[in-house]
Symmetry: C2
Subunit: 352 residues, 2 copies
C-alpha cells in the first residue's frame, strides 16, 4: 500500500488498508523523526525502536543474540534544546536504545538540516534519525523541518509520542477545557514582555484553563560570542514554576487584573517531570507558587479556569496543605520580584 | 525513591532523583493504565510493554527463549469504546503484545471498575491492566477512573502516549494556536445540538484553530434494549469527516455566520487514521469536506483560524486540486442535509 505517513498527499479515493508488512517497510534511505516520550529513553514506542534499529542494520530490539552491525552511514541525533529527559544523559539514551546517539543543538537542526539530515538520505541512501523528547510536533521547529524535507522529496517516517500537551490530562484537568497554550520567556533587563498575560485573559474570558510552557535555554550563546563566532555556550537554564509564577505576578501588577484575568488567588497546578517515577503534581494559589520548589526540570504551570465537579475533586486531592501553602507564600514574598538581570535570576533559581 | 507516578502527593521538598530500578519496580499487585498510541499495537512504549509483561509473569519482551507463564490473576483489558485502532482487531493486539487481551466496553469501565479492576488488585494482589488506544487521559472517563483508584488507595502506574490532541501537529498547524477542542455528536431526529458551533465561534474570535473530535458509537444499546436489559448492541458507527462537515453546515444555516464564526469557504484540514501507514491529511473548504471521502475510521476535522506563514505553506501543500475540490463539492451537494434519522444517516455513510 502507499505510505501516507511519509508523503501526505490528499486522496479522494483512499488506498486499501495497509498489510502488516507496510508497518515495517524496508527503506534504502530515510529520515526518521521519532518522538521519545516524556521521561525515559524506553518511552520510545516498540514500533519506532524496531524501525530505527533495523534501518541502522541492527537487530529489531537490543540484546538479541545477533545484534547486527551499525551501517556506516546511519546517524542518530538527539535534539537537545526544545526539551530534555529529566534523568538521562545522552550516553544513557544511547545505551537504552542500543545505538550511538549524537547531540543536535539549535544550530544543527535549524541551520544545517540539509547538510546533516537530508543530503545523506538523498545522495547516500543513509538512514538519519532525529530523536525528540516528547512528540515531534510540539515545537514549531520540527514542523518546519518536515516542511523542508517534503519540499526536497526526502523519504520520511514520523513516530508520534506523548507530549506535555496531552500528558497534563494526568492532573485531572480535562484537555478539552484548555484554551490557547502560552509560552513564558525568561524576563531580563531589557525584555519583559507581557503578551502571555493577555493571551491568558482570553482563556479566562472563555472560562478555560491555560497551559504555560516555561522557557528553556540550552546551548545559548551571548550576543558577543555569537557575533565573534565563538562556540562558547551559556550554562543551561530551565524556568522553574516559582520564576514563572513571579513573572505572572509582575504582569498582574503592571497590567492589572482586568487585563490579565487572573490574580494572586487563582488556583494553579504545578507539574514537574511528568511521566517520570518522581513526577510531581500539586495545586495551590498563584501567590504560593511563587515560593514553591518543584525540584529538577522540566516544569509546567497550569492556570485553572472554573472547575467542573470532577476537576474540582481532582484538584482538591492534590492541593497543598494549609501549612505548606503558608510556607510557600512566605518564601515567595522573600524571593520578591523577578531578577532584573539574567545573572541575578540564575542565583535566585539556585537558592530555591 | 518514592513513586509519584502512582500517588501524586504534593511535595515542597522533592525526593531525590530516581534510580534506574525505580523505573521497573517490582509490584505485588497493581492497576496499570497504558496508552497504546494511535495506529498499531506496537505503538505501545518499550517501558510500558516491559512493565505489563513482567507484571503478568512473562518475559519483558515477546519472543524471548523463556516466555514465562501468565499469572492466573493477571488480567489485561482493551478499552473499546472511546477510540479504536484503524486496522487491528483485539486478537491482533493480543498477538502483538504477547498477552491475552479482553474487551472492556463502556459498562465495564464506567460501572464495574471496582469489581473488575480495583478489588482484584487490593484483595488478590492481582495485576490488572487497562489498555487505551491513544493517551489514557484524552477521554474524561479515564480521569474519573484514576480518581476512583486514588480514593480507594489502589496502586497505579500510568503510561502516557500520543493522542489525537497532539498528533494533529503533523498537519503543519501549530498546537499552540488551537483554542478549545469541540466534540461533534451525531445528529438524530430528536437531538440536533449546535453548542459545538458556538464554541468554535469563541475560537474564531480569538483567531485560533479548532479541533473537532467526531462521535464514536461502539457497543451502544437502543433505549428499548437497555430498558429490557437485553445485551443486544447496535453496529458500531464512526462519524466521517463528510458527516461532520454537513452538521457544521447545518449549524451555519440555522444560526448564521455571526453566531458560528465559520462559513462554507472556511479552510478545514481532514485527518484520518493518523500515525498509520495509510494516514490521510488534506485541506479543502468546509463545503468540499461535506463530499470528501477520507476512508475508514477514525476521522478528525480541523477548522483553521488565520494561518501564519509556515502554516499557510503546510496547508497549501496538502490542499485538494481544483478538480478534486469540485468533485467533492458536487458530491457534498448531492448528499444534501444530514439525515434526520440514524438509519438514514448510516445509509449515507455507506454510500460514501
Amino acid at each position: 500500500g502507499s505510505n501516507q505517513n511519509r508523503t501526505p498527499t490528499p486522496l479522494v479515493n483512499p488506498s486499501p488498508p495497509p498489510t502488516p508488512s507496510d508497518f515495517y517497510p524496508p527503506m534504502p534511505g530515510e529520515f526518521l523523526l521519532i518522538g521519545l516520550g516524556l521521561a525515559h529513553p524506553s518511552d520510545i514506542s516498540v514500533r519506532a525502536l524496531k524501525h530505527l534499529r533495523t534501518s541502522c542494520g541492527l537487530s529489531a530490539l537490543p540484546g538479541a543474540p545477533d545484534e547486527g552491525t551499525l551501517k556506516p552511514n546511519a546517524k542518530v541525533y538527539l535534539e537537545c534544546y526544545t526539551s530534555i529527559f529529566p534523568h538521562f544523559s545522552i550516553d544513557e539514551v544511547s545505551k537504552e536504545l542500543g545505538v550511538p546517539v549524537l547531540e543536535a543543538d539549535r544550530t544543527i537542526v535549524e541551520q544545517q538540516p540539509e547538510d546533516l539530515f537530508f543530503t545523506p538520505v538523498l545522495e547516500d541512501d543513509a538512514t538519519v534519525a532525529l530523536l525528540i523528547v516528547g512528540d515531534p510536533f510540539s515545537a514549531t521547529t520540527h514542523s518546519d523541518l518536515t516542511s523542508r524535507a517534503a519540499e526536497l522529496g526526502v523519504p520520511m517516517t514520523v513516530y508520534h509520542n506523548a507530549s506535555i500537551m496531552n500528558a497534563v490530562g494526568a492532573t485531572g484537568l480535562q484537555l478539552y477545557r484548555f484554551g490557547q497554550t502560552v509560552s513564558i520567556p525568561f524576563f531580563n533587563d531589557k525584555w519583559r514582555p507581557h503578551s502571555f498575560a493577555t493571551k491568558i485573559r482570553a482563556n479566562v474570558d472563555a472560562d478555560l484553563h491555560t497551559m504555560c510552557l516555561l522557557d528553556i535555554k540550552v546551548k545559548e550563546q551571548t550576543d558577543e560570542n555569537l557575533l565573534r563566532g565563538r562556540a562558547i555556550f551559556e550554562p543551561p537554564r530551565f524556568m522553574s514554576i516559582a520564576t514563572a509564577a513571579r513573572q505572572l505576578l509582575e504582569s498582574l501588577r503592571v497590567l492589572g487584573k482586568g487585563e490579565v484575568g487572573y490574580d494572586e488567588q487563582t488556583t494553579v497546578v504545578a507539574v514537574a517531570r511528568i511521566g517520570s517515577t518522581d513526577q510531581l503534581i500539586a495545586s495551590m494559589s498563584l501567590a504560593a507558587a511563587a515560593g514553591f520548589d518543584a525540584g529538577t526540570p522540566l516544569h509546567t504551570l497550569l492556570l485553572c479556569g472554573s472547575l467542573h465537579v470532577m476537576e474540582e475533586e481532582a484538584v482538591s486531592r492534590i492541593r497543598l496543605s494549609p501549612e505548606e501553602e503558608k510556607a510557600c507564600l512566605e518564601r515567595g514574598e522573600r524571593a520578591g520580584d523577578v531578577g532584573t538581570s539574567d545573572a541575578e535570576n540564575t542565583e535566585e533559581e539556585d537558592e530555591m
